[in-house]
C-alpha cells in the first residue's frame, strides 16, 4: 500500500535532522525560485485571481450544472452551479471528485499501441508503445473502412450533440452501436412506456410529496439524479411536519437511514410487496383501470406475501393506508436492490400505484428527455457475433463491459478473437476494457471538452472547457469528426471541423445568445409538457416472483463511494469512509449478525464468497442493517485496472458472482445470486473509521421522534435526562466587532452523502493518506460524517452527523497551546496557525470533539494531483496540527472584495466549501452578529442545540438542528 501514498523523506527533512544538532537550520526553507510569467497577457486571467467557468458535470447521467474554479489556468475546484435547474448549487462527491479523474496520475497521456513483449522473467507481457496521433488515427481509419467486416461501437449513455453525432457516425460507417451503462434505469423507462405511454425516465418531484414510498430506490445517493432529488427531498424534510418516508429494501441504504421506516424485505420480493399495496389501492383507480388492476392482483394473498417478504403483514397495511390517507405522495422503485429479475414488474406496479394515486403529472412526470439506450441484450448478441469472427473494428467509449458484466459473458475472450481486426478504446484511463484494446486514443476529460446535454426540466446544459488539456489528448467529438472526415464521410459532422462548431450549429442560436449560454452554463427554461397517458395492455401481463429459496444470496448495491465502479479511481472517495459501513479503502460484505453467527464470521475477517461463476475475498462487516441471509456487497471495487487507487482495493469484482440475464432483459438483474461463504485465506488490513456506533446516551446526534400527526413523541420509559445547570462564566465573554462566523447543521436534511467531505478535501488541500496510515487512525479529513446507531431491528435509528471544528467560544484547545499556534480571532474563528505550530498535540487532546488532525508524515501527493491544489491554502508540513478553518481563505477573499467596495460582507456571500457543496443545504453559514442572517435564524430554531455544550460549556459556533423521525 505504501506504493500508493508515499511518505515523504525529502532533502528538506534530512536537513531538519541536521537541524537538531545545528539548531537554526529549520528556517531554511526557500530555495532559489523561478517565476515564469505568462507568455501572453490574457484579458480574463489575472495571476492570483480565480476565474470561474460554468459547465456541466459529466460524471453521471444526471448532468448537474457545475461551476469550476480555475487559478492560473488550472481547474482547482468544482462546485454546483446555483443557477442550474437540476442541482441548484449542490454537487455530490462524485461530481466534485471529477478533478481527480482529470488529474489522475494514471491517465493515459498520449495514443498508445499494444505490442507484445516480455517481462524480465521472460513471460509475455503487454507493452504499450506511445505513438503519434497521426499514426494511431491512420491505423484506426484504415481498419474502419475495411470492406466486408462487422464493426461495433460500444458506448455509454450519451446525450445531446454527442448522441446525435455518434448515431450519425455509426450509421454512415455502417457500424453497430451498442450502449451499456450498468446504472441506467432502463427498466424504469420501459415501464414508463408501458404504463404512461412515454419512453424515458420520468421526472420525480420529491418536493411535491407528503409521503414517500421507495422500493429500493436510493434516490439520495446514486439513483437517477441524486443531487436534484436530495435537494427536493430536503426542502420538505426540514419542515416541522416533514413528509413521511417508507423505504422498502433488504439492505439499509443512506436513503433508508433517512427514512422514517425501513422495512427490510427479502431481496427480489419488493414487487410482491408493491403488488400487495396496489391491491389495497385498486378501488381508488378509475373505473376503466380498476378491474384490470384487480385482475392483476387477484392472486395476491397478504399473509403469503408477508411471509415471502419475511416481514410482518401489518407493514403492508400501514404503507397502503398511509398512501390512501395522504393526498400527495410519490412512490419510486429502483436502485440496485430493486433490480431483481422482476425489476420491470416492480416498476410497472409502482407506476400503477402512482397512476392510481394521481401522482402522475404532479410528483411523477413522464418525460422523454432521458431515453436510456442501454441494452444488455444487444451487448450479449454482439459478443456472440464477435465470437463468430470477421470483425473489422470494435470501439469502446464511456463503457467498461469487461468490468461491469459478469465474466460469464466472455467479453475478454470475444475481443481476443477480433484479430486481425482492431479493438479501439477512446479512453483517458486504463480500465479493464481499454486494457484489451489494440489502440488507445486518449480523450479529453469533460472539464477539457465541449459538450451538451438535455435537462429533464427543460432546456439544455452546456459543457465548456475550463482549461487547456494537460496531456496530448483529443476531444472525443473531435476524434469522431476527424475519423469521419478522414474516411470521406464529411456528412457526419455536416461539414464542421470541430465538435464545438458542431454543437454550436446544432444549437442554432445567435452568437450573442451562444456567448450568454456559455457563460451561464446552458440554456435553462421550464417547458411544460402536455400529458397524455396511454397504458399498454402488456403492462397487465407482468410476472411476479414465485417462492424463493432459503439459500444465502449476494446483494450488490451502488454506493456513494464507488457508484458502479466509475468512482473507484478517486483517491478522495476511496479515503472517505462509507457513511454506513464506515469502511475505508476497501470492498466489504455486510452480513446480518444471525447469518454471521451461523457462518462464524466476525467484523474484519475476510470471507470467501463464491459460487460457480467466481469468488470474492472481502472483509465482513457484521451489521443489523441488512436482511438476514443476505450478503450485501458494494459494486465497483476490485478493479484489476483503472489506475493505482482502484487497483489497490483487492478482493474481486462482485459482478463476477452474478449469472447472465435471462429472457432478453435489457439490464443485469443484481439480486439472488446464491453463494457459499467461508473464511478466506487472504490476509489484509481492514479499516473502519469508527470503533463504535453507540453514542451511549450522550445526546450527541439528537433525534426527535414525532407522532404521525407531527407532535413530539415522548418515550415514557426512558430515564429522565438531567442537563447540567447553566454554567457560570469565569471570564468576561469576548466581544466581536464586526463578524462572528457561525454555522448550523440540519441533521434532518443531512443525508450523510459525504459531498461536504469531498469538498473539504478539494478546497483545503487535505492529503489522502492511504490505507496503511488510515489503519493507524490517522486520516486527515477536517469534516467527517459520524454515524451513531440506536435501537435494534425494527426500531433501528441511524444518525449521521457531520462533525467539524465547532469553533468554540470557550475553546479548550486554545489556552493549552504553548506557542499561540491556535487562538481565537476577532471574527470568532478558532484560528490555527500552521507555521507557528511546534506539534505538541495538546490541543487535540483537549479538543472535546477531537476534530483536529495532525500531520504525522509529509504526505507525498502524486505530481498530477498537485496541480489540483488550492493555491490559497497552505500545504501543511510534517509535524503540525490542522483543522477546519471555516474556509478562512474564502472569508478573507470576501472581506477583501467588501473592502474594495467599502461595505460589510453580505449574508450568503461567504460559503465554506462544505456549505456550498451540500446537495440538501443542510449546512448554513454566516454572521451570527447579524440578526437577519440565515444562520442566526436557523440557530435560533427550536430544534437547534450544540453538541455537549451543556456538559462542558465550550459554547460552539456550530449549532446542530435535531433530526426528526416519525414513530411508525
Amino acid at each position: 500500500m505504501s506504493d500508493l501514498v508515499k511518505i515523504g523523506q525529502s532533502r528538506r527533512n534530512f536537513l531538519k535532522v541536521l537541524g537538531v544538532s545545528t539548531v537554526a537550520a529549520g528556517c531554511a526553507d526557500p530555495q532559489k525560485e523561478i517565476i515564469s510569467p505568462h507568455f501572453k497577457e490574457s484579458s480574463n486571467q489575472i495571476p492570483g485571481n480565480a476565474v470561474w467557468y460554468n459547465s456541466t458535470c459529466g460524471e453521471c447521467r444526471s448532468h448537474c450544472g457545475i461551476t469550476v474554479r480555475t487559478r492560473e489556468g488550472r481547474a482547482v475546484k468544482i462546485e454546483g452551479n446555483p443557477d442550474h435547474p437540476t442541482n441548484k448549487g449542490g454537487l455530490c462527491g462524485l461530481g466534485q471528485s471529477a478533478l481527480q479523474a482529470l488529474y489522475d496520475p494514471d491517465r493515459i497521456r498520449e495514443p498508445l499501441l499494444r505490442t507484445d513483449g516480455t517481462d524480465s522473467m521472460g513471460n509475455p507481457k503487454v507493452i504499450w508503445k506511445p505513438v503519434s496521433w497521426k499514426e494511431a488515427l491512420n491505423k484506426v481509419a484504415s481498419a474502419m473502412v475495411e470492406p466486408g467486416k462487422k464493426r461495433y461501437f460500444f458506448t455509454g449513455e450519451t446525450s445531446g450533440s454527442l448522441d446525435s453525432l455518434l448515431n450519425d457516425f455509426v450509421k454512415s460507417l455502417n457500424m453497430k452501436r451498442v450502449t451499456y451503462d450498468p446504472m441506467e434505469a432502463v427498466e424504469l423507462a420501459e415501464s414508463s412506456e408501458l404504463v404512461y405511454g412515454t419512453y424515458g425516465i420520468p421526472r420525480f418531484r420529491f418536493d411535491k410529496a407528503d409521503l414517500i414510498v421507495s422500493f429500493g430506490a436510493d434516490f439520495l445517493e446514486t439513483w437517477i439524479s441524486p443531487t436534484e432529488f436530495a435537494r427536493d427531498w430536503a426542502t420538505r424534510r426540514k419542515e416541522s411536519k416533514p413528509p413521511m418516508h417508507f423505504q422498502i429494501e433488504p439492505r439499509l441504504s443512506l436513503t433508508g437511514a433517512k427514512a422514517d421506516k425501513w422495512i427490510s424485505v427479502k431481496p427480489g420480493t419488493e414487487s410482491l410487496f408493491a403488488a400487495a399495496v396496489l391491491k389495497r389501492l385498486t378501488h381508488k383507480a378509475d373505473s376503466e383501470l380498476a378491474p384490470k388492476l384487480e385482475k392483476l392482483t387477484n392472486k395476491i394473498d397478504f399473509n403469503k406475501v408477508a411471509k415471502e417478504c419475511d416481514i410482518s403483514v401489518s407493514h403492508i397495511y400501514t404503507v397502503a393506508s398511509k398512501l390512501l390517507e395522504t393526498k400527495e405522495s410519490i412512490v419510486v422503485a429502483g436502485g440496485a436492490p430493486g433490480r431483481s429479475e422482476y425489476g420491470k414488474s416492480l416498476q410497472v406496479i409502482v407506476a400503477f400505484i402512482n397512476l392510481v394515486l394521481g401522482n402522475v403529472g404532479r410528483s411523477v412526470i413522464p418525460s422523454s428527455v432521458r431515453r436510456p439506450a442501454t441494452s444488455l441484450l444487444e451487448v450479449s448478441k454482439s459478443i456472440e457475433e464477435i465470437n463468430k469472427g470477421g470483425v473489422g473494428v470494435v470501439m469502446f467509449h464511456g463503457t467498461n463491459p469487461n468490468f461491469a458484466l459478469p465474466s460469464a459473458y466472455g467479453i475478454k475472450l470475444a475481443l481476443e478473437k477480433v484479430k486481425p481486426g482492431l479493438v479501439v478504446s477512446f479512453s483517458s484511463i486504463m480500465d479493464e476494457t481499454t486494457a484489451l484494446a489494440d489502440v488507445i486514443l486518449p480523450v479529453h476529460h469533460s472539464l477539457e471538452d465541449w459538450g451538451d446535454s438535455d435537462i429533464p426540466s427543460g432546456g439544455r446544459s452546456l459543457t465548456q472547457p475550463t482549461m487547456n488539456p494537460i496531456f496530448s489528448t483529443k476531444s472525443f467529438g473531435d476524434l469522431l469528426i476527424i475519423l469521419a472526415n478522414g474516411v470521406d464521410k464529411k456528412e457526419v459532422a455536416g461539414g464542421k471541423e470541430t465538435f464545438k462548431d458542431y454543437i454550436q450549429a446544432r444549437w442554432n442560436v445567435s452568437a450573442s445568445d451562444w456567448r450568454k449560454f456559455v457563460e451561464a452554463g446552458g440554456e435553462f427554461k421550464n417547458t411544460d409538457q402536455s400529458l397524455t397517458i396511454t397504458t399498454d395492455a402488456k403492462a397487465f401481463n407482468i410476472k411476479l416472483p414465485e417462492k424463493h429459496g432459503d439459500e444465502l444470496t449476494v446483494l450488490p448495491f451502488f454506493s456513494v463511494k464507488s457508484f458502479d465502479g466509475r468512482a473507484a479511481n478517486r483517491a478522495w472517495l476511496q479515503e472517505i469512509p462509507d457513511p454506513l459501513s464506515l469502511v475505508v479503502w476497501d470492498s466489504w460484505a455486510e452480513i446480518h449478525p444471525l447469518t454471521a453467527k451461523k457462518l462464524s464470521l466476525k467484523t474484519g475477517q475476510i470471507a470467501k464468497i463464491g459460487n460457480r461463476f467466481g469468488e470474492l475475498n472481502i472483509p465482513v462487516v457484521v451489521t443489523e442493517q441488512v436482511k438476514d441471509g443476505v450478503i450485501a456487497v458494494p459494486i465497483g471495487q476490485g478493479h484489476e485496472e483503472y489506475g493505482r487507487f482502484a487497483k489497490v482495493v483487492k478482493g474481486g469484482n462482485v459482478y463476477n458472482l452474478l449469472s447472465p440475464a435471462k429472457n432478453g432483459s435489457r439490464y443485469l438483474p443484481l439480486t439472488n445470486a446464491a453463494v457459499s461463504v467461508d473464511l478466506s485465506p487472504r490476509r489484509d488490513k481492514f479499516v473502519q473509521s469508527q470503533i463504535t456506533e453507540d453514542q451511549m446516551g450522550r445526546k450527541i446526534a439528537k433525534t426527535k421522534f414525532l407522532n404521525p400527526d407531527g407532535s413530539k413523541w415522548v418515550n415514557k420509559a426512558a430515564k429522565p435526562y438531567h442537563p447540567h445547570p447553566e454554567a457560570a462564566q469565569l471570564y468576561e465573554q469576548r466581544k466581536h466587532p464586526l463578524y462572528q462566523w457561525g454555522m448550523t447543521v440540519d441533521l434532518a436534511a443531512c443525508t450523510g452523502c459525504s459531498a461536504c467531505v469531498v469538498a473539504c478535501y478539494a478546497e483545503n488541500n487535505i492529503p489522502v493518506v492511504g490505507k496503511d496510515v488510515a489503519y493507524q487512525g490517522r486520516e486527515m479529513s477536517w469534516i467527517s460524517i459520524h454515524k451513531y446507531v440506536e435501537g435494534t431491528g425494527e426500531e433501528l435509528t441511524v444518525s449521521l452527523q457531520p462533525m467539524m471544528c465547532q469553533h468554540c467560544q470557550n475553546a479548550p484547545c486554545e489556552p493549552v497551546c504553548p506557542v499561540y499556534a491556535t487562538y481565537h480571532n476577532e471574527d470568532g474563528i478558532n484560528a490555527m496557525v500552521y507555521n507557528r505550530c511546534v506539534g505538541t498535540r495538546y490541543c487535540s487532546n483537549n479538543c472535546t470533539y477531537k476534530v483536529r488532525r495532525f500531520n504525522w508524515f509529509e504526505f507525498d501527493i502524486p505530481e498530477t494531483y498537485q496541480w489540483q491544489l488550492n493555491p490559497d491554502v497552505t500545504r501543511r508540513t510534517v509535524g503540525v496540527m490542522e483543522k477546519c478553518t471555516f474556509c478562512v481563505q474564502r472569508i478573507n477573499e470576501a472581506k477583501d472584495k467588501a473592502k474594495d467596495e467599502g461595505r460589510k460582507v453580505k449574508d450568503g456571500e461567504v460559503k465554506p466549501a462544505c456549505v456550498q457543496s451540500c446537495p440538501t443545504q443542510a449546512l448554513t453559514f454566516g454572521n451570527l452578529l447579524d440578526k437577519d442572517s440565515a444562520v442566526s435564524k436557523s440557530s435560533g430554531e427550536k430544534r437547534a442545540y450544540k453538541v455537549l455544550d451543556t456538559y462542558i460549556n465550550t459554547q460552539p459556533s456550530v449549532s446542530y438542528l435535531e433530526n426528526h423521525k416519525y414513530k411508525v
Binding site: I7, Q801, N846
Partner: protein
C-alpha cells in the same frame, strides 16, 4: 548507630574512594550496553525526525503516548532524589546520608532524561526553542496560560536547582577525591571540578548556609514540579484527566517510584563495592516504610478516582473508569494495580523489609507499575473521551520501544560514568554524622 561505631573518617574515605578506582572490565561492559541502547534510541529518534512523528505509535485521538508517559515517569523518578536530599535534610533525618548522593545523581540524570522527551515528542522538534520566552524577530512570545509552558518553567527550574544542589554537594567530596587522586588525568579532572575547594572554615560556613538554603528551595520544588506536570492533565478537560486529586496523587506516585528506583540502584552498588558498612539494613527498612506509605497514598488515589467518577454522575467520567479496568487496555491497568498496590503490601511483613533480594525484585516491579500508571492515565483517557465516533487507540511501534529503551540507556550511561568518576556516597556528610575525633571525651553524637 551501634554497627557504625568503628567507622571513622579514614574508613569512610577508603570505602568511598575505592569506588573510584580504575574501571574494571565489568564496568566497560555495562557502559557499552548503555551506549548501545543510547545508540538505538538515537537511531529511532533520527528516523522519527526524518519521517515525522508518525513513526511512533501515536494516533488520532491518542495524540500522546509513550513519550509523555516516559517523560512523567522520569520526572517522577527524579523526585525521590530531591525528597531524600532536601526534605530529609531539613528534617535532619540521618538515614538519608549514605543514599542521598546516589538519589541526587539519579534526580539530575532522570531530569536530564525526562527533559529530552518533550522535545522528542514534538511534531517539529527543530522548533523546540519557540517554547522559551526570548525576544525574537517574529515579535511573538509563548502563551503563559498553557500548562506545557508551565512545564518548561518547572522542569528547567527543577533541572537547574537540582543540578546546582547536586554539584554544590559534590564540591567538597571532589576535593577529597582530588587529594587522593593517583593518576594525572583524574588529578586535573578533580581539580577543575572541585573549583579549588579547600575546606577552609570560612568556606564551610558559607557552604552550610547556602546548602541549607538550597535545601529550602528544593523542597517546594518536590511538591511543585510534579504538581505542574500533573496539571498538564488536570487542567485539561479529558475525562480521566480532569481531576483535582492529581497533584498530590502525582507527587506521592513520584516519591513512590523514586524510592523504588533508589533501591534498584543502590542494591547492586552496595554489593559490588562492599558498602554494607555504610548502607545498612536500617536504611532499607526506612525506605521500605516510605514505599509502604506512598503505595498506600497511590492506592487510595486510584480508588478515589473511581469513587469520584461514580459520585459525579458524569457519563464520560463513569465510562472512562469502567473502561480502565475492563476495557481494551485492561491489561495495562491490572499491571499497574498489581505492581503498585498489591505487591507492596508484602512489606507489612517485617523480615521482607530488609530482605535485599526481595526488595530488589519489588523495586523493579514498582518501577514497571509506575510507568504503566502514567500509560493508563494518558492512553486510556485519550482513547475514550467525549465523542464515541472519535474513539481510537494507539499503535505501539518499535520506534516507541527503541526510544524508551534508549532513555534507560541514556540514564544508565550517566549513572555508570558518575559512579566511576565521582564519589557516589557523600563522604563529607557521612563524616559529619560520625562523632568528631576527640582526644578527651569523644563519642559525642553530632
Amino acid at each position: 548507630m551501634a554497627e557504625e561505631k568503628k567507622v571513622d573518617y579514614a574508613l569512610v574515605n577508603r570505602l568511598v574512594l575505592k569506588m573510584l578506582e580504575p574501571p574494571t572490565f565489568g564496568w566497560y561492559v555495562l557502559l557499552g550496553i548503555c551506549l548501545l541502547s543510547v545508540g538505538i534510541g538515537a537511531f529511532c529518534w533520527s528516523r522519527q525526525i526524518l519521517y515525522g512523528i508518525g513513526a511512533s505509535g501515536k494516533s488520532h485521538p491518542a495524540m500522546w503516548g509513550f513519550y509523555i508517559t516516559t517523560f512523567v515517569f522520569w520526572v517522577g523518578i527524579a523526585h525521590s532524589g530531591t525528597l531524600i536530599s532536601a526534605v530529609l535534610y531539613l528534617y535532619r533525618a540521618k538515614f538519608r546520608m549514605p543514599i542521598y548522593r546516589l538519589a541526587e545523581a539519579m534526580t539530575v540524570f532522570a531530569v536530564l532524561t525526562a527533559g529530552l522527551f518533550p522535545v522528542i515528542h514534538l511534531g517539529r522538534p527543530w522548533f523546540f526553542y519557540w517554547l522559551m520566552p526570548y525576544p525574537n524577530q517574529m515579535a511573538l512570545w509563548p502563551n503563559f496560560r498553557s500548562p506545557l509552558l508551565w512545564d518548561v518553567f518547572a522542569v528547567s527550574t527543577y533541572l537547574t536547582i537540582s543540578a546546582t544542589f547536586f554539584i554544590v554537594g559534590l564540591i567538597p567530596d571532589i576535593a577529597v577525591a582530588r587529594d587522593a587522586a593517583k593518576t594525572k588525568f583524574r588529578k586535573i579532572l578533580y581539580s577543575i571540578c572541585s573549583l579549588g575547594w579547600r575546606g577552609s572554615y570560612t568556606q564551610w560556613k558559607h557552604y552550610t548556609s547556602a546548602y541549607l538554603l538550597f535545601a529550602a528551595f528544593a523542597t517546594p520544588l518536590v511538591v511543585s514540579v510534579h504538581s505542574v506536570v500533573s496539571w498538564d492533565f488536570a487542567v485539561s478537560i479529558v475525562p480521566g484527566w480532569h481531576a483535582t486529586i492529581f497533584p498530590p496523587y502525582f507527587v506521592a506516585g513520584a516519591i513512590f517510584s523514586g524510592v523504588a528506583m533508589v533501591i534498584t540502584l543502590i542494591i547492586p552498588l552496595r554489593k559490588v563495592y562492599g558498602l554494607e558498612a555504610l548502607v545498612t539494613e536500617k536504611h532499607f527498612d526506612a525506605m521500605s516504610k516510605l514505599i509502604l506509605v506512598t503505595s498506600g497514598v497511590v492506592g487510595y488515589s486510584y480508588l478515589t478516582e473511581f469513587y469520584s467518577a461514580w459520585w459525579s454522575n458524569n457519563p464520560f467520567e463513569r465510562y472512562q473508569f469502567w473502561f480502565r479496568p475492563f476495557g481494551h487496555y485492561a491489561w495495562a491497568f491490572w499491571i499497574m494495580f498489581t505492581c503498585n498496590v498489591i505487591l507492596p503490601l508484602l512489606l507489612w511483613i517485617k523480615p521482607l523489609r530488609t530482605h535485599i533480594g526481595f526488595l530488589f525484585v519489588l523495586s523493579i516491579f514498582i518501577n514497571i507499575g509506575m510507568w504503566f500508571e502514567r500509560f493508563n492515565i494518558i492512553l486510556q483517557s485519550l482513547s475514550r473521551d467525549f465523542l464515541p465516533a472519535q474513539w481510537g487507540g494507539y499503535n505501539i511501534s518499535w520506534t516507541d520501544y527503541g526510544i524508551l529503551f534508549g532513555s534507560f540507556g541514556w540514564f544508565g550511561m550517566w549513572m555508570v560514568i558518575f559512579i566511576k568518576f565521582f564519589p557516589s556516597v557523600a563522604i563529607t556528610e557521612i563524616k559529619e554524622i560520625l562523632p568528631a575525633p576527640k582526644r578527651h571525651g569523644g563519642g559525642e553524637d553530632h
